[in-house]
Symmetry: C2
């Protein structure tokens, strides 16, 4: 186990790489001020009272050097109707970011560039507290206020280090592909433990479910491995999205880092993509039969796509399991094409499968079963202990035959995935899946799959 001095030395070197320098801070501060002033000018022309607040990591000094995001929220009175809020929001956005673009989350906002920074200009309501929202983004100014009061320069530095650590281990981000730690969650955890090292030492010993309630106002329980009750909303778990796997990942790498502190934890590169030949040789080495359902990725954002892909994968995998093909592992990924990938123990099953009937002594059922199968051409009915048994022909003896059949539409696919499969899809079996690695991003996915680490 390393001592705090070793750890401090590593953290020091990491900070040299991620702390924004004075030039960067100044440039950001000046750009943000100018932008805020421009917005306030425009607000003055509106018939309602509204103000602009900077939120996000660049507003709190917790951004990593090189991040160039400025988040500016325009806060309208709670009584304003939604239509006006939207139109005022867009009006100001268009005025301030004339080359910007309209985006739609819960309601429209504008993104654009300002003096080289990426700006999000988001209208929201000025609500009393996080528990009386009119729209989901209304929480953000409250989060911002809560953290600004509590995160001083020293803690902000530790937040940056912890964020970089999570990025290095692949657990940063509350998007629905990653299902990791959000920026807000990261800051709350550092605040809770008082620093990066303290947090890692604690996390190494966590016994999920791990529950924090900084404001001691939680109103309900959550079925999540990590629970941080939102200080601005007693009914919300800030870590709701964070998967058990990412909690375990943090625990694993916290222990590994404490045992041997090293900068590399913070800057792990993506793995090198596997070539088709490397994929083939893994398949051969493993003696399994991978199958891949390949189709055009639905044209939806990643936060919609990955839940749909996972739901579809889970449906396909469960059904392959239920049918006896023995899935070992599975994964899904997408670029232009999307892939549901399941690695099977058995590509082919016996033609027949055992079907147990009732015990002979349950006379009505037993007679019904016997009569139904006596002349069916199946094997049996015969006796096994006190029951009738028959061996019937299996519906699909080949995994590929099942995947290529309409039965694939009965497994509970994501709806947008289902539409794409209805258009067309391809089933690759065995070493044929290797051709997917011709796409570099898929080669990287195969590296993660076939050369897995925590």
């Amino acid at each position: 186990m390393a001592d705090s001095e070793d750890i401090s030395r590593v953290v020091e070197r990491v900070r040299e790489r991620i702390d924004p320098d004075e030039d960067e801070r100044t440039a950001l501060r000046e750009a943000a001020s100018a932008l805020t002033a421009r917005v306030e000018e425009e607000l003055a022309d509106l018939p309602v009272d509204a103000d602009a607040i900077r939120v996000g990591s660049t507003a709190r000094g917790t951004w990593l050097s090189g991040d160039r995001d400025i988040d500016l929220f325009v806060r309208f009175p709670e009584g304003l109707d939604r239509e006006s809020l939207e139109s005022y929001g867009l009006e100001i956005g268009r005025a301030v970011l004339p080359d910007g673009q309209e985006e739609y989350a819960e309601h429209p906002y504008v993104t654009g560039e300002f003096r080289g920074f990426d700006v999000d200009l988001v209208p929201c309501y000025d609500v009393e507290d996080g528990s009386s929202l009119r729209s989901a983004v209304d929480r953000t100014p409250h989060h911002n206020a809560y953290l600004r009061e509590r995160i001083d320069d020293e803690l902000a530095a530790d937040v940056r280090v912890f964020k970089r650590f999570l990025k290095g281990i692949g657990a940063y981000g509350s998007d629905l592909r990653t299902r990791g730690f959000s920026g807000y969650l990261t800051e709350l955890l550092v605040l809770e433990y008082g620093g990066f090292e303290e947090l890692l030492r604690a996390a190494a010993d966590w016994h999920p479910p791990v529950v924090f309630d900084p404001e001691d106002h939680g109103e309900r329980s959550f079925d999540h491995p990590l629970v941080v009750v939102d200080p601005t909303d007693p009914a919300r778990n800030v870590a709701a999205v964070c998967s058990a796997e990412n909690v375990a990942r943090l625990q694993h790498y916290a222990r590994a880092f404490l045992a041997g502190p090293d900068e590399s934890f913070f800057f792990s590169p993506a793995p090198d993509p596997l070539s088709p030949d490397e994929v083939r040789s893994h398949v051969e080495r493993r003696g399994t039969t991978p199958v891949a359902v390949v189709f055009d990725a639905p044209d939806i954002v990643a936060d919609q796509l990955y839940p749909q892909l996972r739901k579809s994968l889970s449906g396909v995998r469960s059904e392959l399991d239920r049918r006896g093909f023995g899935p070992l592992r599975a994964t899904t990924f997408a670029e232009d094409r999307a892939v549901l990938f399941v690695e099977l123990a058995h590509a082919t099953l016996p033609t027949i499968s055992r079907h147990e009937g009732p015990p002979v002594h349950v006379r009505n059922h037993a007679e019904g079963f016997y009569d139904a199968y006596a002349d069916s051409g199946d094997y049996g009915p015969f006796l096994d202990g006190d029951r009738y048994v028959v061996e019937r022909d299996r519906e699909y003896a080949e995994a590929s035959a099942f995947l290529e059949s309409d039965a694939i539409f009965d497994v509970g696919l994501g709806s947008r995935v289902e539409s794409k499969l209805e258009e067309s899809y391809e089933v690759l079996v065995g070493e044929a899946v290797a051709e997917l690695a011709e796409t570099e991003a898929f080669g990287v996915e195969f590296a993660r799959y076939f050369e897995p680490s925590p």
Copy 2:
């Protein structure tokens, strides 16, 4: 459902074939009397009081025409030492059956021929009742006395019919290969219900466990599907050997017979043996991989052999199951060679198998697991949810490799089977098992296996 008249007509025709005629009865009576007289002559010369009693079906009029067994028990005083009992028993046997042969069950007895009948001459103790035995055979005279008092000519005829029915459906005999209904059990059941038809009508509706206690003196409960407390021994279940499958078999065929009474139920021939080609075509049709472990049958009686074969088969089958080869069904049979036959869903498995480690949060175990596998060359450790997982090389990816290895000796084989396997054995895989059908008796076993009926 047939009425009693249809049933009586069939029973009448069956009785014409199985009732001993007057000539047969006379011949038997005369031979048995002469034999008893000879034994009594010899007994007169002994220094102890002893008598001879005829037991078994030929003593009670419940034998089937053509059976030529005379069972004569010589009953010695309870106080006699075992050594004297044995030597007197053999002495008389040798005198009465000079060409006879000494056999050993619990103690020695003599078998031989007398006027064309097969005679068992068995010494036993004259004990008070069935619950104070000095040897297992001491019960028999009590059974005999109990039934002689209660089975009249009419019931004896129904006993014969029921025995023939059980033979026809393959459920007669308490030997450890058949695990069916003993002669004594058959008689008690007919006595209980008052006749063959009454018994079948009742059996068709049985809900095992079915419990009878004719003398209402049972002292304990039994974990058997059919319980008939021995009228001469309150601690014994006469049906202890009868398997759940044979109880179900009686129920099935009782219903079938009542629904369509026919002589054929009583005289089903053994199935025609399958040829090797027929075996091959079943294997192909089923899409399975049968495996057979073939070895010289241990030289022990069937009542010892079949329990050993079954124990060995169960051990091999469970281990094949545990290792993932998916056994569908199994059987065992023997002539000069013995066969453990298991039909597998998978002949070959992936090279790797999944091995789950502890949850990451159980720190001590988790660290131990991770360290043990981190540099093992296996796939992983990686995370699946909150656990570590590795994919290790499977010990045996081929069922045949397992069966041909020393690991087969770790499955709990019967001891005499184990010795034979230690000498040598052969493993047949897939269609190669068909060669076993070159032995006609095995061809019949394959017919039972591949063309199964209740």
